[in-house]
Structures are given as structure tokens and as C-alpha cells.
Assembly symmetry: C2
Homo-oligomer: 458 residues x 2
């Protein structure tokens, strides 16, 4: 019998996260205070994050111990299995060996709890009573709700109103775990009130929800804010994924030639690939591909610039690829990939040519998801389907070239809470959406008056 | 760190199923042909089941080898983890040790693929091209669709119309796996046509859907029918669960005093407990509890009698506990437990006092599910919440008695496709439903003219 699933014993689960900051050939440029234009100090972040996370955000330690209490919670679902996708290989008739890391086995169904557990823990030991956050489609909000429940923390999630109404399942998951989930814009914050005063029917946006969540955290000493992607400490916590994968690939007796992950804010992609980027820096030849939607092509078409993380210009300025803080992507079903910016670490690694990016159309991603479900059996999140689409392209390329390449992709989550998207696809109701050319002008306008990073690329 | 998750290495996964038939102190009484009143022969079943399954249905072999091709598919998600529920124990402040077996890690999210894989395989090697089945809420239909995809079989699922319309997610899962899912009653069968002629707005029922699925199988030589519970061969395939659990309990260094599972048709309950029933027959002292809803109290209140498996009286007569084939349970959210009958094996074991049953109200089950989600992290299927409710009762009883009991329950599936049920509960929209007293009279009327089993109990 072929060995399909490579299981890592619990005793082999990594006990440290990997921090890529000290290994980066060109360092990440520092976040700036938008008021002063000066690099942020810890005091700028203290009102919203607990100190251990602020320290991790700028740490230059290569390995950071995972606290015992976090390891204990990770063991609820970790180590996660690595699979050899024999059935997909056979279907594609490719000489490539395809592996995928299954991060969908967590109770929330995705990779998000890797950092949610850690953030809940550090908040707990820092005296935080309540955490606020924002969520779009709900992957992050549900993951944080789950983790707050485990540590006895209150959790308040501002969920983009249109998703709150159209995608009730993840909202109900949050409530089942005891969190409060509020449609944003809401009347609970000044930001929300002012938006509603201008447009009582506002459908909301991730940017608005961030503003509300940050305001709610700042207004209360016992309350902090949590972010599910983009920041360095989030990438750090996610690396447990790639560190496990490296051990499992060794058990399988293979090493990847190509690594693929979808990238919205960058956290699932970073989690799987950063430990391999370290190997690449040390001389390994690996093609590492971040996959994004053509409707939100941050890495493939966005400038590298300083920009706000949110649309209402409240956050620090981050040096990243950005489509501009005013960008509104087409309403594709991969909600987790509809973000105008990108993690500074991922952006910098693209600038350093250690990672490259590809954009893919929506219909190709769902076709890939269907193929995957009917061969490998798992139904994927629409975000994950982006990684599968490029995996299939790479496997077919290997077939054309007659090369026995080893392809690894990150299966970031299951799609069982996203079945409405598959229904729309199967009914022929979905379309492809490319970002219009003129949006680049708008993006450049958004960043025109902001400070420029040293490596600015417009 | 406490050992929370007990993982069985793949090399330790059982290679045989356990068949309890030869070990039963009182044998299961044979199914009867409703026309002749005589015990069924293989020829009665040949139009709808492939021969290997008919042979398993009556086999007296204690252990039956699992085919290599089935083992290979099992390894997609098996062995499944056994958990020690430390957080729940702590919350309940009980001296009891609580273990649960997590069958929710399969791609379909429940225990159902344990038999769906086997049935798809035996059909495949017997030359079947297409499998028909019925489904209520969709757990079984989605599991069979998944498994048919893996073996390249066509699959047609007749889904009860009211669920088809109200619970779209599992229907879309079936379609994603390539199955055809049809609202029943349909115009595709004579049974469906005749029902629609009488009532064009019929919401459908499991009984009607069975009639349609069986008819569709009988009408076509290349098509067979599959059932997801009740029959002996289904119980057999599910025993891989309990056989794994026994090995994992040995690793944990404990043996259960109490075993709990929810019971609708009986398959998930049987899967976990039958290998332990064998131990009980051999002298072990174990309290084995089947949990059912008060709205559908088949084992706690139904007669033990011969009855039809379906409402339209097409199936063989089975010796079982039954609420009568005309029973319509209240519309509780645990759709998988809304069945008037019960597996003959489970019914006989209750008659032999090897298993006992308890009924629980709907609100208590959801409260238990919420408690479980906020302590252990997993969101359970509404059916599974029944097992959790009685687990909590037993753990609190152990506390009262000051006894360090070992309680094991079967966590049969996750609830991520059932969030609407939790929403209704959290909004205070659910009620308790006890079966009215007069329903017993109706049940006795249903079976009055049918042959009686030797151990008839009215």
C-alpha cells in the first residue's frame, strides 16, 4: 500500500517558532507612525497589543520558544497531517509528486488558530479580559472566538455587515464559542456611528471593521485588539506549519522543488513557506509561489510602498505591496484574499526575489477545487482553491517537461462553511474578475502623499 | 503536559472488522419477506445489493478481513484520534475521566464514510456502475457521494424535499463530489409520481425517499442501492471505530466503565460499542448507553416487533424496536435520530440487557453541545450532542457518588454544516418535544397485522 498520509508523532511537534526577521537578506522596513512619519515605538502599540506580542513583532531571535500552555492547545489538532496526493497525480497523469499539508483539521477548520491560540495566551497572561477583532467572511473571527473560549477571555468580533447577513454560519460558530459578533458598521463605536450617519445602509468593509475593533480596544484598559494576518508576530506563530512540514517531507524522503500557497494578508502562505525560505537563503533551489486572485492582484500588480492597513487610515503605515487603501476588490468568494495590502515580510521577500507571485482567475480556482474534491476527497475553502489551481498548472507543466518535480502546497482550510460558493459555481453563476487597469492609477493616488520606503516601486 | 490526544499509528489500524452475530447470546431474528412472511433468502436481496454485502449481512465469521483497497481509503482520515476531555472534566469538577473518539475528521465530517467506503468498494468490484440512496439531513448522502467519487461510481441521492430546500449545504457537498441529488418525492420514479399525484406539495419523508431509491435501483441492472444504517453489514463496517478505540484506551491505560453513543438507526453507536459488548459478554462490567431523543424514543418506549424499515411498506420486515412505520417524529434538529426503527443488532442487545437506552430532551442536548464547544473546542453535530448530554449527566453522577469512573463517548461528527440549529437554539427558538402517549397506540396499530418475533414485547 502506498503511504498517503505522513503523520508526525506528537513528540516531534516543534517546540519553537521560526522568526525569519534576522535571516532576511534585506530587512523589512519599519512601520511608521502616520502622524509623525517616524518609525513606531513599542509605546505606539501598547494601547492595542500586549507587550509579549509587541516584543515578538520586532524580535531578532531566530527561534522563539512556544509556551507550554500554547503547545498544549496546539495538541488539540496538531501536528496536522501531510498528504501525498496520489489520486490527483494519477488524474493529471503527471510525473510530479504532489504533497499537501492539511491545516483544515483544526476545530475552526483552517490555519487561523495557529496564531489565535498564541495571541489569546499572551493576552491572558498580560491581564487582558477582552479581545476585539474584525472579520470579513469569518475565518479569523471564528478562530479567535474558539481560542478565547479555551482561555476564558471575552471576545468581540466586528463582522463586515454584508458577510454578517449573507454568511451566517461562521457568525453562529463565533456565538457558539461564546463570542459577541456585531455587524459593522455598528452604533457601538464613534467610527461606526460616523459611517452610519453618512450612509445608514453601508454594507461595511474590512477597513471599517478594523476601525471599530481598534477603537473598542483603545477605549478600555482591559481590552486589546488582535489581528489575524499581515503583522510579523502572526507570521511567526504560523511557522509551526512549515516546521512540521519539513519534518514530514523528510519522513517521506522528498524535498520540494516547488512550494505553493494562497496569499491574502500572507499568514497561511508564510506559515508553510518561511522555514523553506530559510533553506533557500542558505542555497536550496526552490520555486516558492504566492497565489492571489486576479481581482485582487496585490503582489503581481501593486506598487511596493508605505500604505495604511485599513481603508479609514487609522493604522500605522506598512512597507508592503498594496493596491491602495481605498481599493474595493470584486466580490469574489475567496473573501480571505480580498485585501488591498500584504504582509511586509512576504512583500519584502518578493522584492528580494525569494518568492514570486501568480494571479489566477476565479473560475479556474473552483474547477481546481472540484477536481481536488473528486480525487483526494477533501472539499477546500475557496481561498485554498487558488493554491490548488496553480498546483495543477505546475503539475501539468512538469508533465509537458517530463520532469519528476516535487510540488508541495498548503491546504489552508476546508470549505464546508463555504458551500454557497460551490453552489454558485456549479450553477454557472460565477464570473472571472480582472482588476481594471485604471485601478493602478487610483492606488498610486492613495499612496502619493505618504512617505516612500527605500525600495519604493510604483 | 497532560496527554490529551491519543493517536494510533497507521500501522496499528485494525485490518479486520468485528462481526458480533456469532457472539450474540440470543441471535438476531431473521428479516422476513413481507409478502410470504418467510425469512429472506439472498435472492430477495440480490436486485438491490451486491453479493459480497449480502454475504456479510448473514455471515457467522467473527472477524472479516478489510480489503486492501478499503484500508487504503480509510487511511485518508483513519485512525481517528481519541481524546481525554480534561477541560470538560475540569469545568464539571468531576472525578470521572472522560474520553471521546473523534469520528468528525473524515472529509464528510462524520462516521458515515466507514461503511460508505466499504459499500462503494464492494459495489465497484461487483460491476455496479451507479448507486442510489436516500438521505434526510444529508450526512449519509454526502458520505456516500464522497466515497463513490473515490471509486469512480455514479451516485444518485434522493433527499427529503424539505431538507433539500432548507439545508442546502450537504446537498451542495454531494454535488461537489459529483453526485446527483434530487428532491424527493420526485417525478423520476413511479413511487414519487404517485405521491405527487396525491399531494403535489408533499415535503417528503425518509420513507418516501427510500421507496424512490430502491425503485431506481431495481429498475436498472447496473444500479444498486445502499443503506447507511440499520443493517448488519453496516454495523460490521462501523466496528473499525470501536476496535481502534480499544487499542487507544489501552495506550491511555484505562478501560471504560460507561460507554455512550447517540442512536438513530444505530450505526455510529454500534461502531463504537460492539467490540466492547463482546468484552461485556465475556465478563467485563460496562454500562453501555444508547441515547435517543425524547421526540423519537425508539428503544425506551417502542415495542420490540417485526416492522417495515420504511413508511411505504416496501422493505423486508425487521425484528427491532419500532415506533411504527407511520410515525412522524417532531422536527428536531438532530435529523439523523428521527427514525422510527432501530438496527436489529442493537435492538436485540437491548432485549438481552447488554445495552440500555436513555432519552434526552432537545434543549439539554444543545446546552451540552455549547458547554462542549466552549471547553473542548469542537462544535458537534446535533446528533452527537445527545451523547454529550448523557455524558455530562453521568460525569455529574460520578461526582455525586465520588467515584472516579471512566466514561467513553463517541463523538460521531462535527456540526459545522448544522450551524442553523445552533442559531435557533441560541435565539431561544427551540423547544422540547416528548412523544405523545397516544403514539404508542398508533405504533401498536402499525404492527398489529404483521408477524411477531419470538421475543415480541408490546
Amino acid at each position: 500500500m502506498e503511504r498517503k498520509k505522513i503523520v508526525l508523532p506528537e513528540s516531534e511537534m516543534p517546540r519553537q517558532w521560526y522568526n525569519i526577521l534576522p535571516d532576511m537578506p534585506t530587512p523589512v522596513e519599519p512601520p511608521l507612525n502616520p502622524g509623525t512619519g517616524q518609525p513606531l515605538g513599542p509605546e505606539d502599540l501598547a494601547p492595542i497589543f500586549p507587550m509579549p506580542l509587541i516584543e515578538q513583532e520586532v524580535s531578532q531571535e531566530r527561534y522563539i520558544d512556544i509556551p507550554e500552555e500554547v503547545l498544549e492547545k496546539y495538541l488539540i489538532w496538531r501536528p496536522t497531517p501531510l498528504y501525498r496526493a496520489y489520486a490527483l497525480e494519477k488524474y493529471l497523469d503527471t510525473p510530479a509528486k504532489i504533497y499537501f499539508k492539511n491545516e483544515g483539521v483544526s476545530p475552526a477548520g483552517s490555519h487561523k488558530p495557529n496564531t489565535a491560540i498564541a495571541q489569546a495566551y499572551y493576552n491572558k497572561i498580560s491581564g487582558t479580559k477582552k479581545i476585539t477583532t474584525e472579520t470579513g467572511a469569518g475565518q479569523w473571527g471564528s478562530a479567535l472566538s474558539f481560542c478565547c473560549a479555551l482561555f476564558g477571555l471575552e471576545c468581540k468580533v466586528f463582522m463586515v455587515k454584508i458577510s454578517y447577513n449573507q454568511k451566517p454560519y461562521r457568525r453562529i460558530m463565533m456565538q457558539t464559542w461564546g463570542a459577541t459578533c456585531i455587524a459593522s458598521p455598528s452604533t457601538e463605536t464613534k467610527a461606526g456611528q460616523s459611517i452610519l450617519a453618512q450612509d445608514p445602509d453601508s454594507p461595511g468593509s474590512l477597513g471599517m471593521a478594523i476601525s471599530e475593533a481598534v477603537e473598542a480596544a483603545v477605549m478600555d484598559d482591559d481590552t486589546k485588539y488582535a489581528l489575524g494576518s499581515v503583522l510579523n508576530h502572526v507570521m511567526l506563530h504560523q511557522t509551526i506549519n512549515g516546521l512540521e512540514t519539513q519534518k514530514q517531507m523528510a519522513i517521506a524522503g522528498d524535498y520540494p522543488d516547488v512550494i505553493i500557497g494562497c496569499a491574502g494578508g500572507g499568514s497561511n502562505f508564510a506559515g508553510n513557506c518561511l522555514p523553506f525560505v530559510r533553506d533557500k537563503i542558505n542555497g536550496k533551489d526552490i520555486d516558492i509561489i504566492a497565489v492571489e486572485p486576479t481581482s485582487c492582484p496585490t503582489l503581481t500588480r501593486g506598487p511596493f510602498a508605505y500604505d495604511f492597513g485599513d481603508t479609514v487610515q487609522m493604522t500605522p503605515l506598512l512597507a508592503m505591496h498594496t493596491l491602495g487603501h481605498s481599493f474595493v476588490p470584486a466580490p469574489i468568494h475567496a473573501g480571505g484574499l480580498r485585501y488591498h495590502g500584504m504582509a511586509p515580510i512576504i512583500s519584502q521577500l518578493v522584492m528580494s526575489n525569494l518568492i514570486r507571485a501568480e494571479a489566477v482567475h476565479q473560475l479556474e480556482t473552483f474547477q481546481a477545487g472540484i477536481t481536488f474534491a473528486r480525487t483526494e476527497g477533501f472539499i477546500s475553502a475557496p481561498e485554498t482553491d487558488h493554491a490548488i489551481a496553480i498546483t495543477i498548472r505546475e503539475a501539468l507543466k512538469a508533465k509537458e517537461e517530463g520532469k519528476e518535480k516535487v510540488i508541495l502546497f498548503n491546504w489552508s482550510g476546508h470549505g464546508l462553511v463555504d458551500m454557497a460558493a460551490y453552489e454558485a459555481y456549479l450553477a454557472g453563476k460565477l464570473a472571472d474578475h480582472a482588476m481594471p487597469e485604471e485601478e493602478i492609477e487610483r492606488a498610486l493616488g492613495d499612496i502619493a502623499s505618504l512617505p516612500k520606503p527605500k525600495q519604493f516601486k510604483g
